[in-house]
Amino acid sequence: MKPEATAEASAGGGIAPAPAAAKVQTPFQRFAADFLESRIAVVGLVITTIVVFIAIFAPLIAPTDPFDLAKVDVMDNLIAPGDKNFAGDFTYVLGTDGSGRDMLSAIFYGLRTSITVGVSSGLIALALGMSVGLAAAYFGGFVDTLIMRIVDIQLSFPAILIALVFMAVLGPGIDKTIMALIVAQWAYYARTVRGSALVERRKEYVEAATCLALSHRRIVFRHLLPNCLPPLIVVATVQTAHAISLEATLSFLGLGVPQTEPSLGMLIRNGFDYMHSHKYWITFFPGVALLVTIVGINLVGDQLRDILNPRLQK
């Protein structure tokens, strides 16, 4: 999650204005200053930025194209990290896998797939859960009871089980993995939004908007929603990390993305067979990439939680 988006949210939310004594700050500056206070969160932000950069520009920065069969030489299979290729003119920094693909390039491309699946499923689940949660909170009554029952029932099952069922039904594929993750995640967003919207709905500005006879749509999306965003952003950050991890798990089990577009989970699965013959690097390095990505996003999420929590506001 980009901090800019959050800044706009707190601007719209109008969290307590800066004290008069302090230097005049825009909400974004205040937010950025709060965020930068924690050194470990900055580390997380740097990691996340680098990972996203690699994911976007993988084809440009990867040393080789692991999917171009013409360039992959089977003679180069299972080369240990740091060793030269068969021809002796190229060094595989992280070694090669069973079919002679450069692991470093494969990881770059794998990150691309993992991030794509994680972020797109997160965003769609966010949009879906947000609309449903807002509807539940705003209309209340029967709609609320019905929606929240469904959410409760779904949340009583672990996300991995729900994703597993959907992958069993849909079969492997990137689009199907995204669908399964949306189904597994929307309920978390719905519950978060409903919780904060229920509190906001009772406040005077909503009453004022209602008195002005504004349409439902306008009240919900222009007044209620911006004020519900801070907790939602925190959940979105953590859930995106969770989605990336879930996707890796599904792909590891062979139910996620196809072999032709391996994500980090798929790379780890491919290396599993070689692990017992002491060829650790095929499993190890994609796992480290996955780990660094998840931890980076979680560090950012933790700091966002701290600074966006009104109870902890200075």
Binding site: S156, L161, S245, F252, N298
Partner: protein
């Protein structure tokens, strides 16, 4: 009270019915098993016969009603691949999964509570921070990768522990168990720890939060002022009060352990329900998937129902609120 239980029971029943429909409908979408089992070159009559045998030639609703009718008699169909009743095949594997899940539960309690209480009591010290960082890692690390790394370190490179199977088992009351033999224990340890990692982190956090909240209570101060030993105050007064949320969460998380065992069993080749279901999904063995899901859904519903009822006994506000709504 009985009104509350009846309402909850009705609700659970409704969930079972909805789930059975959803599960069946969803699984119905999986490819036709005859394509997989019968060679495409086989004569048309042969294909027709196999379709009739499996009942996949009938329209959707007839398949569903047949399924429900049989399910009520405990018959969830035969496995396409192994040709035995699906329910029986899964129940055979259940003890292995339950053993793994209970071992993980045990580990998360004996490791999680002491570590969490220690971190709470020594708040701010280096060791407390170390424990809390560990628990954050436990939350963020993808469980399956940690399992692989455990195999790599302890089985492949150090050769201390075996990485696949259950090892030597002993029969107790007709059930095969691993934890009573040394060989079985060495096989059980890694998968159980791997499955427990997430729960250990959770219990550490709960225990720490509980201690931090309770330690400043008047009754703790009073007990200390009365001259009771520090040890006794912690072990008795404090522990009793932090256990309530921990026990609830552990109860609810047990279902999660069963679900997560799918991954752990696949990694460690532990012959339980989870490994079986992944194999069945990959082989498009429809009745096995349906049977597994029905059993898991039932287990979840029973666990949630028990926790709900237990909660309403402990906290009257819960049932009053429910009757009102």
């Amino acid at each position: 009270m009985s009104v509350f239980i009846i309402r909850r029971l009705m609700q659970s029943l409704l969930v079972v019915v909805i789930m059975s429909f959803l599960v069946f409908m969803a699984i119905y979408q999986i490819g036709d098993p005859t394509d997989l089992l019968v060679s495409p070159d086989a004569p048309q009559e042969e294909i027709e016969r196999v379709k009739r045998d499996f009942g996949v030639d009938l329209p959707f609703h007839e398949q569903y009603f047949k399924f429900v009718g049989k399910a009520l008699q405990g018959d969830l169909g035969n496995s396409f691949v192994m040709n035995d009743p699906a329910l029986q095949l899964i129940l055979q594997k259940m003890p292995a999964t339950l053993e793994l899940a209970f071992s993980a539960l045990f580990l998360s309690i004996v490791l999680g509570i002491p570590l969490g209480v220690y971190a709470g009591l020594r708040h701010g010290t280096f060791s407390s921070k170390l424990i809390m960082s560990g628990s954050i890692l436990g939350f963020s690390l993808p469980t399956f990768w940690v399992g692989l790394m455990m195999i790599m370190i302890f089985a492949v490179y150090l050769g201390w522990l075996p990485s696949t199977g259950r090892g030597e088992t002993v029969e107790v009351l007709g059930i095969e168990v691993s934890f009573l033999t040394w060989d079985g224990l060495t096989h059980l340890f890694m998968p159980a720890l791997n499955l427990a990692l997430l729960k250990i982190s959770l219990v550490i956090r709960l225990a720490r939060a509980g201690v931090r909240e309770t330690i400043h209570m008047d009754y703790i101060k009073f007990a200390r002022a009365k001259g009771l030993a520090y040890r006794r105050v912690i072990l008795l007064h404090l522990m009793k009060n932090i256990m309530i949320p921990i026990v609830t969460v552990i109860g609810l998380e047990f279902g999660g352990l069963i679900a997560f065992s799918v991954i752990t069993e696949t990694i460690f080749a532990w012959p339980g329900m989870g490994k079986l279901i992944i194999e069945s999904i990959l082989l498009l063995d429809r009745p096995m998937v349906v049977a597994y899901l029905m059993i898991t859904v039932m287990m979840f519903i029973v666990i949630n129902l028990l926790v709900d009822i237990l909660y309403s006994i402990l906290d009257p506000r819960v049932r009053l609120q429910d009757v009102k709504s």
